[in-house]
Symmetry: C2
Subunit: 114 residues, 2 copies
């Protein structure tokens, strides 16, 4: 069992959009990533809820109906089946949690490797 310091670990990442796995929990993968100046296309995860936790920074979570700001120390959970996209301007550090097999290059920005 390993202790993970979110801020320390995310600051070790040297490239944007590169997901680092930091845990596995009941079929879910916990990963951390640094993102800047990126808006993903609207997409849906049919089989998994998705948690965005902001370690540092802020972003907007957009659905077709709402645009919600999420700041440092806050999380939001997108239920499966809900079309959404993250909108990131300033450098922001995230913890993501979703079922294993959910993220891929199309819905994660670029450099995700299962």
């Amino acid at each position: 069992m390993e202790v993970i310091n979110l801020l320390t670990e995310v600051n070790k990442i040297t490239e944007l959009y590169t997901y680092k796995k930091v845990g596995f929990l009941n079929g879910n993968i916990l990963s951390i990533v640094q993102v800047e100046n990126r808006t993903l296309d609207f997409h849906v995860h049919e089989n998994s809820d998705e948690l965005f936790y902001v370690i540092e920074g802020s972003f907007y979570l957009e659905t077709k109906k709402n645009k919600t700001k999420v700041n440092t120390g806050e999380f939001i959970i997108v239920p499966k089946g809900v079309k959404h996209r993250p909108v990131v301007t300033d450098l922001t550090n995230f913890l993501m949690i979703e079922l294993s097999g959910t993220l891929n290059k199309e819905n994660s920005g670029d450099l995700y490797e299962e």
Copy 2:
């Protein structure tokens, strides 16, 4: 979809050992709790991994082999089947994540209600 600020929400709790549910993620419950001066009995969750995240404070996670300190901004995941107990002295605020149905009055301190 609701934005949850962990520190704000946990500081709204007025009683120790009282779990407040703040999210549901792929069958897991996210709950926050304030704990002080409490050592639980060693116990096992046979069906669920369990994540302890320290919002503020620190505690020791003990297994039969190790005693691991977890500080503010850090998490540790106890795999299912691993006997463990949290040891808390100073007031510490937690985010807990485990499968729905895992926590009960015996393994959570006192006041857990599913």
